[in-house]
Structures are given as C-alpha cells and as structure tokens.
Amino acid sequence: MLTSSNFAQDVRQFMVFNFLYGQERSFSDDDSFMGEGIVDSTGVLQLVEFLEATYGITVEDEELIPENLDSLNNVSAYLARKLNTAPGGDALQETAAARGNA
C-alpha cells in the first residue's frame, strides 16, 4: 500500500537530488520549499512533472498552490487525496508498485 511516508520519502529523494545536488542539508517534512529557498517557480514545475510521471496523476492548474506543493507534508497529503479520489486508483498503485514503492 502507498502511504504518506512513502510519498514523503520519494519526494525527499527527488528534492535532494534535483535541487540540493545531493548535498547534505536537512529540511523537515514541514519546511516550506519556497521559504527555504529550495525551489523557485521553475522548480515547482519540475516537482509537478515528477509527481505526474511517478504517480500517473494530472496536476490541474488550480492545484498549483503552496497548500498542495510547498512542503513534504503538503505534497504527501495532496498525493493521498489525489490518489484516493482518482478514478482507476488501483492502476496508480500498480505504477508505484512497479517502482518498488508499494
């Protein structure tokens, strides 16, 4: 099963690799990506692309808001909502399972 902690772990890995260039820098699950200077708006777009490709979701224009995307906790909660309400949720879980995250 996909859980919030799986999401947080995946997204943290993506953020560290893409925006911190693998360098050690601690940020908490609640830290603001923008506030901490980890991403700018182009970075948000890259995060969205990662979420769409990884979880097979479509992030709608109106969902491009900090409440959904500005921290690991926000992204996890957003993904949980999105995957639970999306039609074909099973297929989404299979996508993640194929990557070894389920």
Binding site: D40, S41, T42, V44, L45, E49, D61, L64, I65, P66
Partner: protein
C-alpha cells in the same frame, strides 16, 4: 529624491528637474571620467525606459556624443522602430538600424523556440503567433507558473501550461534576442570608443527582469534607481514624445503582444511600484493596501513575490565569482 514621508499615492513623486540634473552630472562623470569613453550607445526600443535614457545621455554628454541603435527582428512590433526613430529625431542624435533577424536565424533562435513550443502544442508552426503568460498571482496564493498562448493562422487562440523543459527551452532560445542586441551595441561601442548604456528601471533591476549577458549587460545604468512611475515623470520633464509616454509597456519579445505585467509582475506597474516602495521601506501590508488600491492579503502576496524574485535575481546580477581576490588590478 523622494518627497513626502506619509504613505500617500504621491510618495513616488520626484523633483524631475533636480533628479535630471543629478543623473546627467553622474552620467558625465561615469562616461567621461570613470569609464574614459567618448560617448554612449543607447539601444532604443521605442519604450519609455530606453527613450528616457537616450534623452538623459544626450542632455548629459551632448547629442554629438550619443548613438541610438535600433535592433528590430521579425517578431518586433513595427511601432518599436517608428517610435525609436522619433526619439533620435527629437534629439538630433546619430542612429543606426541593425535588423538582427539573420543573426537570430543563424543561431537557430526561432527554430529552437518553436521546437520547444511544439513539445506542448504539436500543431504550432508557420503562421502561428505566441506569447508566454503568468496566472493572476495577487488574488490567490498561486505559483508563478507560465503558460503559452498560441494563436493559429485562422486566429484561434489556445493556452497550455508549459512543461519545465518547454519553458526553459523557450526562454533560452528567446534570450538570443537580448544577447544579440547587446553584441551589436558593443560593436558600435568599440567602433566609436563609447560606453553602452543599460536601460533597466528599478523594478526590472531589483526583480531580475532582464537577460544575463543580454539587456542586463551594460557599462552604466542611469535609471536603475528610479521606480517606473518616476521614469514617466522624468519622461514628461525631458519632453519624450507623448506617443511613447502613452504606450503601454511591452516586452516586444514575442509575436503576440505581451505586456510586462502579463509576463513578469502580473500587476499593473503603478501598483507594483507602490508595493516595491512599501517593501523597501518596511511599510506593513495593511498600511500600503488602501494606497495601492489592493487588499491586505494581496499586498502580502506581492511582498512575498518580491522577496522570491529577489532571490532568483541574485544570480542574474552576480558578477563572476572568483576563488581568490586577484590583487594588483
């Protein structure tokens, strides 16, 4: 320079005569003494900022020491060249026209841009026009994420959110335009031993509304301390032709007309000016809101946007970094 200490809409009023005197004295010192150059090259787009810089340079250095340059390309509005010529004629300065389209074609500027657009709008091709736009950022807490608006040859428009690679591809390709313009400006600067004038106003300079190595490159930037509304006040004082003063701000970079607000600030420039002033002077959002005609929350969002763009702009303004200071130079 800024008169009035209370928060009123007049807070950006400037004594235009005194400010002109101060800037022209500084231009003379920068060009003749500090840079040791014989005059100034000013790239004039027909917009308010470059027109004011041309007027200031002519006043400071003498019209015989100024060369005004027009660098149209195939996406430029024909108005740009016409209004630019109006500036040169008003001032009686020398001017040169360099159509940069062939250089841009050689660099595959248009081709690369169109390839990036086709990644999100596959039908985009011959006869299409485009621009990139931001959503309304002040009425809701949204990210500044760009969409592309395309217009088909039959006039139908479509708006599509850009993928990161399409966005970066379009920006990287169109930046050839500003960098090519700067290359031509420096050709004339070398030819006549002139300095190149940069034309950003304070909003652009502060918020990084320029291309690094393009319009961001210059030997001096005489209006980088002036808010946009102050530039308009100087324009009126200097006698910049009215048509230029009345023309809405545009980037003149994309084939569909794109206002500067639409591209970068998503707020009318007069309001943006007041917000930047408020941010710079520590004015609480609630106090600035009624003056700017915005609500408290909107001003808070604009303040946050200003801070976030400042962070991004730091890279754009940074001089090359060195491992050690190089002594003896």
């Amino acid at each position: 320079m800024i008169s009035g200490s209370a928060i009123s809409p007049d807070v950006l009023q400037v004594d235009a005569a005194r400010e002109t005197e101060r800037i022209t004295a500084s231009i003379r010192d920068m060009v003749f003494n500090q840079l040791r150059r014989k005059g100034a090259v000013v790239g004039v787009s027909g917009g308010i900022d470059s027109s004011v810089v041309a007027f200031l340079c002519a006043r400071a250095l003498g019209s015989e020491h100024v060369l005004v340059l027009f660098t149209p390309e195939s996406d430029s509005s024909p108005d740009s060249l016409r209004l630019g010529r109006m500036v040169a004629e008003s001032l009686g300065v020398r001017s040169a026209v360099e159509d940069i389209t062939p250089i841009l074609r050689g660099a595959r500027c248009y081709e690369r841009r169109d390839e990036s657009i086709r990644a999100v709008v596959p039908e985009y091709g011959e006869g299409y026009k485009c621009k990139i736009v931001l959503p309304n950022l002040i009425d809701a807490n949204r990210y500044a994420i760009f969409s592309i608006v395309v217009q088909s040859p039959s006039g139908q428009t479509r708006k599509v959110r850009l993928s990161p690679s399409a966005y970066l591809g379009i920006v990287a390709a169109t930046n050839f335009k500003q960098r090519t313009r700067k290359m031509i400006e420096y050709y004339y600067a070398d030819l006549y031993q002139y300095a190149v004038a940069g034309t950003p106003n304070r909003l652009e300079y502060d918020q990084g509304f320029f291309v690094k190595g393009g319009d961001g490159a210059a030997d001096f930037k005489p209006i980088a301390h002036l808010y946009k509304s102050q530039v308009y006040q100087l324009a009126a004082y200097l006698g910049v032709p009215e048509e230029i003063r009345r023309r809405p701000s545009t980037t003149d970079t994309y084939s569909l007309e794109q206002s500067q607000e639409e591209f970068y600030f998503s707020l009318p420039l007069a309001k943006m000016d007041l917000c930047l002033y408020g941010r710079n002077n520590g004015i609480p959002a609630a106090e600035l809101a009624p003056v700017a005609g915005l609500d408290d929350k909107q001003v808070q969002r604009v303040y946050a946007m200003i801070d976030s763009k400042r962070n991004v702009a730091r890279y754009l303004r940074a001089a090359p970094l060195l491992v050690d200071e190089v002594e003896g130079i």
